[in-house]
């Protein structure tokens, strides 16, 4: 071994830094086990949606009840379970895993800002989570309508709600992964206890939940009243986008102050 190093170097810009970190993190968070387990969950939602669609309507004429059933199913299975759980698994892992296993140092001790690393983590999580959330939620909701007239609105609403919900949850859970070790456990507690249960308590609780805004999106696009929801499409989009942005900013601040192993 003898050293003869003469590397030429340039400043690493934010876009390049983000792309480099994304390239590493997306390979770190994807595993066959995760994809299989969460893909199976999505498949179950689609199959159950198809069963729901056939059993509730049973070939009956199209009606608002079928649309409601479809939207309600997309909300109850997709937005309550699939979207937050899938986002949690990948987003909490994106920086949480590398922090826990000690590899974060290989991205942290670099002449780069902290924001690109956080944005890359969120982008990696969204990339993997999006198809796993959007496809089953939209298909499951659509199947549950038994394809009655205007059922496309339910599918579109479910798709939009799942997509924006996935982005917002992913950003939030990237932050969670930096705040707590074993972030998945904390995240599940949050999803089940707050997003799942507390939201059913009324309007005020719903205002403080991501699910409430995702559900508003579904409700407005599908034009179906799912209860509680009182705010409009723009409000839902703005709130979900704002939560995403604030989470990323807080995660950046947290990353800069982190004790890295």
């Amino acid at each position: 071994m003898s050293a003869g190093l003469d590397s030429q170097r340039r400043r690493v810009g934010a876009v390049r830094a983000t792309a480099l970190c994304y390239r590493v993190l997306i390979r770190q968070i994807v595993s066959v086990g995760r994809l299989a387990a969460l893909g199976a969950l999505g498949a179950i939602m689609v199959v159950v949606g198809w069963v729901v669609g056939n059993s509730t309507n049973g070939g009956a004429p199209a009606n608002d009840g079928a649309l409601y059933d479809g939207a309600n199913y997309a909300d109850g299975f997709g937005l309550i379970i699939i979207v937050p759980i899938v986002s949690l698994v990948f987003a909490a892992a994106s920086l949480g895993d590398v922090r826990d296993d000690g590899t974060l140092v290989y991205l942290w001790l670099r002449p780069m800002g902290r924001a690109p690393l956080v944005v890359a983590a969120a982008a990696a999580a969204v990339t993997v989570s999006l198809p796993l959330c959007v496809v089953p939620t939209a298909l499951g909701g659509w199947f549950a309508t038994d394809f009655v007239a205007d059922s496309g609105g339910v599918a579109l609403g479910a798709l939009a709600a799942a997509a924006l919900g996935t982005v917002a949850y992913s950003c939030l859970f990237v932050l969670l992964g930096l705040l707590f070790r074993k972030a998945v456990l904390w995240g599940i507690a949050y999803v089940l206890l707050w997003e799942g249960l507390a939201v059913g308590l009324g309007d005020f609780a719903e205002r403080l939940s991501l699910r409430g805004y995702a559900r508003a999106l579904l409700s407005r696009i599908a034009d179906i009243d799912l209860g509680f929801t009182t705010y409009g499409l723009v409000t839902a989009v703005v709130v979900l986008a704002s939560v995403s942005a604030v989470s990323l900013v807080l995660a950046t601040v947290r990353l800069a102050r982190l004790n890295v192993d």
Partner: protein, 337 residues
């Protein structure tokens, strides 16, 4: 570094050693240390646990070893130098800047951390290429191939690093640490897991890097390992800097301490009395057939024990040192403070 190592007030120690006041150990008020790496009055607490306590030193170009037992605070010091964790008190500067807040200086440091973890889905070339790219190297793959060549790893071995041996992982980490040609290399236990041949080559590489004007900091808990590095040594124990010097000086210091020897023989009482009478021991204790002797002259004891036993008609069964482990050396240094 020509003076004897001081086991005690190390706070103003200058390892680079051209500060006459600090080298002579005078009581003059010390100036803050100056060097490529400067650690001044640094302490680090984790809750009630003191990991590092009021450590001051400066390191310039060349190879410097941090020697200390596991848990002594070496890795914590390295983490503070790299900005991975802030000191609770004091200041740490690398090339005049705080790596925690100064983005540019982070690009002038190469770190090989103690932990084995790598991005396990990547192969070595990908791992080192990513390291080069994130450091802003203009041709990351070429630099990565070169760095892997330096540590004698095959860049075309496309197995993921999860399948690598510990030694190969160490060398991958080292390649990633030096791929961007850093001025300061911080290597936490880099010789762990290497076989003797790799170890010798790694030591040659580190010496080569130091000779090129880089500041190479290496930690180890193995004294003989550090001896082969031929470097300056900072001895860290219980979070404190307890001694410094080169290996020879440190070895002499360690030889000054009382050594405890276990001597198993028949007629242990007679043998103990003869040892005390001969003046080769400063204390003895008898434990069954075993004489436990404290001596300041371990070589003389070694020479005289057999003739003494022969004169007494006693048969020696075993003579073993009880405190040759590094822990006991560190304990001695700490207690002398």
């Amino acid at each position: 570094m020509s003076s004897r190592p001081r086991p005690v007030p190390a706070p103003e120690l200058d390892v680079a050693g051209d500060d006459p006041a600090s080298e002579s150990g005078t009581d003059a008020a010390p100036a803050p240390p100056a060097g490529m790496v400067e650690v001044h009055g640094v302490s680090k607490f984790f809750g009630d646990v003191v990991a590092v306590s009021d450590v001051t030193f400066a390191v310039r170009a060349g190879v410097t070893a941090l020697l200390g037992p596991n848990g002594a605070g070496k890795s914590t010091l390295f983490r503070m130098m790299c900005g991975l964790t802030p000191p609770s008190r004091g200041t740490v500067r690398v090339l005049g800047a705080d790596a925690r807040s100064d983005r540019d200086v982070r690009g002038r440091i190469g770190l090989s951390p103690q932990q084995d973890a790598l991005f396990d889905r990547l192969d070595a070339l990908e791992f080192v290429t990513i390291a080069a790219a994130t450091q802003g190297v203009t041709d990351p793959e070429a630099a990565a191939r070169h760095a892997l060549g330096i540590v004698e790893l095959d860049p075309d071995d496309h197995r993921p690093v999860s399948g690598y041996s510990k030694g190969m992982r160490q060398r991958t980490k080292l390649a990633a640490a030096l791929v961007h040609d850093p001025e300061v290399l911080i290597l936490d236990e880099p010789l762990n897991g290497l076989d003797p041949v790799q170890r010798r080559r790694m030591i040659e590489l580190l010496e080569d890097l130091g000779a090129q004007g880089r500041c190479v900091l290496v930690s180890s808990h193995v004294l003989e390992e550090v001896a082969r590095l031929g470097s300056r040594i900072l001895v860290i124990a219980q979070g404190r800097l307890v001694a410094s010097g080169d290996y020879r000086e440190l070895r002499e210091l360690m030889d000054d301490r009382p050594h405890r020897i276990s001597i198993e023989a028949d007629r242990p009482r007679d043998l103990a009395a003869a040892l005390v009478t001969s003046g080769t021991v400063v204390g003895v204790r008898i434990d069954g057939d075993v004489v436990v002797a404290d001596t300041l002259e371990v070589d003389r004891l070694g020479r005289e024990i057999a003739p003494l036993a022969k004169d007494l008609g006693a048969r020696l069964r075993q003579v073993i040192p009880l405190d040759e482990d590094l822990e006991s050396v560190f304990r001695y240094l700490v207690e002398r403070r």
